[in-house]
Subunit: 485 residues, 2 copies
Amino acid sequence: MLHHPLIATLQAIVGEAHVLTRGAPDADLSAWEHDWRKRQRGVALAVVRPAHTAEVAAVVQACAAAGVAIVPQGGNTGLVVGGVPDTTGNEVVLSLQRMNAIRHIDTANLTLVAEAGCVLQTVQETAARQGLLFPLSLAAEGSCTIGGNLATNAGGTQVVRYGNTRDLCLGLEVVTAQGEVWHGLSGLRKDNTGYDLRHLFVGSEGTLGIITAASLKLCPAPAASLTAWAAVPTLDAAVALLGLAHHQLGAGLTGFELMGQFALSLVDTHCPQLRVPLWRDTPYCVLLENSDHESEAHARTRFDALLERAFEQGLVTDAVVAESIAQANQLWHIRESIPLAQAQEGLNIKHDVSVTASAIPAFVEQATQVLQAALPGIRLVNFGHLGDGNLHFNVQAPVGQDAAAFLRDHEDRVNTLVYDTVVAFGGSISAEHGIGALKADTLHHYKSGVALDLMARIKQALDPLNTLNPGRVVTRGALDALSRP
Amino acid sequence: MLHHPLIATLQAIVGEAHVLTRGAPDADLSAWEHDWRKRQRGVALAVVRPAHTAEVAAVVQACAAAGVAIVPQGGNTGLVVGGVPDTTGNEVVLSLQRMNAIRHIDTANLTLVAEAGCVLQTVQETAARQGLLFPLSLAAEGSCTIGGNLATNAGGTQVVRYGNTRDLCLGLEVVTAQGEVWHGLSGLRKDNTGYDLRHLFVGSEGTLGIITAASLKLCPAPAASLTAWAAVPTLDAAVALLGLAHHQLGAGLTGFELMGQFALSLVDTHCPQLRVPLWRDTPYCVLLENSDHESEAHARTRFDALLERAFEQGLVTDAVVAESIAQANQLWHIRESIPLAQAQEGLNIKHDVSVTASAIPAFVEQATQVLQAALPGIRLVNFGHLGDGNLHFNVQAPVGQDAAAFLRDHEDRVNTLVYDTVVAFGGSISAEHGIGALKADTLHHYKSGVALDLMARIKQALDPLNTLNPGRVVTRGALDALSRP
């Protein structure tokens, strides 16, 4: 593979030091070849690390001329095998990690321009130093990059107030499949001059173009954020509490997370240093965050008024409001420890689904019934961003069963049962993680033919050689179907 | 024209009563053929008024088979000649006005599904009856339709808080150029299953598909909204006041409008029943709106605190806060009377431009200099949605000059001078009105070739026969350029 003629061309573009190949002594490309969840151990023709947009464009042109596919990659924290090479050894990984500058911050316009390889936390910290907030927040924020966040339209814990990543983006710089540069780094709040190319590239997982930089929206930082933890008697009560919180807090409601009792029991078991409150006597707990532009005292008054009303209405049976930032962080830490606790309990089948908030109780009831009927004794780790209708409705093997065997034997069936139920409720089989290679075939069973056809038409129009992340999101079969009469 | 063979087909689809032609006795199609601003007096082959999505699909198929172009139309209040037929008599107007049902409201999910022909005000009122808010608000709201709002990504007066129309849309039902129906009426807050088709159709002005219904976001209605009117000494002060308001009010800031002294003098002259406050001794006034989820008293306290700080910092020289809803309405009425007052002063050259908030003072200074140097004595009617960087930077003939002659002789030159300056500041030549037929050629001078090429590729992929609103947004020349080697 070392002698592929493309390698020398790539070296000439980015410098020898920035083209990594498996043939080199001590070469270990696993950091770029293996995905975060270790679902894929790919093999790259090379890993190319350009430093500038012009180098990205030249790499794309060179690969297109050589007929070699490109897999764009940010922090490689994706969950759907969208940013690692396949096993053929014929794909080039284009890592954006060296393009990590904050190019510009405009505090009067509340915008910031970051290169694709900027780590999310760096963007957050840059904004914070100006008294501003970049509200995207998710577990991988210390290593994921803003380019990856945009390519996958990442969600996270603040979506209930600030939207998904696409809602935080005003403009993009993109290298097209033809190796041209679209300079669309607008800081404008309003621009109706043609099709919204920005929203087409955001969420396209590197299949339509390579995002090299983005113009991002910032917000004034709130004066205070308070966190509450409430026990709710039912899922219906949780949904009603969400409505009440929207009504009473308005845009102050910046977080609304749901945690099922079994999920919390796993944290209690596997993370004994964490003290999980209120979980023993209630089927669900809810974590609420209230951000206030006036003061902490005002935030507390409003939170107390909300919780008082919720008690009166029977939506909450017990609640605590964090008295300090340290306490608040600890409550969030419990929520964020669920995936870890779950992993310590054993391998499990993960989902990332969404339905409307109003449909959540009925969806959970029906999905639970269907799964228990098919696989008695399975354990549901139900938690997620209830404020966005997004549940990580994960499935753990019955007590005493070998988890690896359970996954091997039942993962496809469990997925089918969950996805069929999700779609029956008008929901999404991938709320915030995307499609990648992992779900591209599955998507064909659940998305309408008209939508898939539109997607294939767009892919073919923008990347006719199918050079950019081929087979991810849009399958080769969908493209082939286009050319049929 | 009556005998075009397509007419009988269309009559069979929607019923004879709903195919209007010019040949019929007493036929007056001017309501569908002439645009709102009377820039275009088109001639339609027919006006077709389907009642259901299936009828829209059948009409599209029939027109495609006959090689006849379709111009989708909502309330016909567009400002860029995007929704009326050309003068050839060969285009069919497809009016969505009969599809005006609210199909569904889901208060727990804060969503509503409306058909494209729903008048915006009907959507607002339907939400209000449930204690909810549909925040899109603009001058034509009594007659524009939600389909048109989506097709043009309408802006209006609440964008500073709630975004443009696209930000209020969760899903769409669309008839494609092939006459298929994309059932994408999602109520989901999170859905990462492929390309965002919704955002591609929104703002595409009927050139990629015909929006027949939409799933819209609602918000809890605030407990109170207060309006203030402030005199600011400079544009720099206005921009600093915007920053301070963002910081102190957070998401409470729901309106921030700028009005120049000359614009207000026209209201004072031509609308003597309105009492315009504070305008005589200041170059600019600002209208602020503060919406509060707690109470009117709290809103007033916060507003007072903001204005006090603004006085201390010299950003505001005088201010009034409306004491009643009637007073607030009157202040808004003054703002909204500027276009009318301007029309009474005489014909004028309108713009709808945006730059970043931070660039507004320098942009206005330079654009004014350039225009005054070229055409001494011209009068600038400068007002707009400062919170979004959106100015309606309109140009009135010098005192004593014939306005019609001024427009005839100078409109192109004035537009060029304004647009050149806008683009030099990284701005947009159409912030909220769109492109339509009026600006499609102009766009080619100001948008990058890469962006125009991407748009043409998308148009060709989704509407290869160029049946849907041809020549609007994407010119025929741009499509022809694609097929060249």
